[in-house]
Symmetry: C2
Subunit: 115 residues, 2 copies
């Protein structure tokens, strides 16, 4: 499986998922309160000042972005934060930034040689 993770294809979708304050709060709440069992949308809505449906939408976005995982227990759906995906995304950003910097310094060196 490659296509659904945050480290796949264009990272823009993942960044869009991370570009919302409420979504970050959801992620952090999941990451902190996670007892490997996961939290339901209702529980999250109970702790955050937004409706359960809003939370559900955010969870859907996060799951599509691959930053969250869900498993259905009985009639309820528990969500877990996927820190590894976040890490992968971070490493990817780091690589891109380094590549740009490298190009800059290389050009600078060439310019220096020409002087």
């Amino acid at each position: 499986m490659v296509s659904s993770g945050a480290s796949a294809g264009s990272p823009v979708a993942a960044f869009a998922a991370l570009a919302d304050e409420t979504r970050w709060t959801v992620l952090e709440t999941l990451a902190q309160d996670d007892g490997a069992a996961g939290l339901t949308a209702s529980v999250l809505a109970d702790r955050l000042p937004v409706t359960r449906q809003a939370i559900a939408k955010h969870l859907a976005v996060l799951e599509t972005a691959g930053l969250v995982e869900s498993r259905t227990v009985g009639r309820e759906r528990r969500y877990r934060a996927l820190g590894a995906e976040l890490t992968a995304l971070g490493r990817r950003l780091e690589r891109i930034g380094n590549a740009w910097e490298a190009r800059l310094t290389r050009i600078a060196r060439i310019a220096e040689t020409l002087t």
Copy 2:
């Protein structure tokens, strides 16, 4: 220097800046074609299928997020991509992801001990 960089405060603003395809194209174009002189909004608009004003807005967003730097030459404004900021943001993401993972494994170990 703390408030303007992409690595300051909440990273949400930086992610919002990175959550747009056109903005990424602008960034990549800057990073590739950069001859240390930088590119103007007009030049960018010439290469990308969007208006100069749209580019200007994107550049403003990117500069606010600290991902781009501008310097005024004559009557024109040249922009440079700041790869280092991107790298810093990436490292930050990496750290958060690792923290979440660490918490998970710690909880898992405790659960194992209880069994």
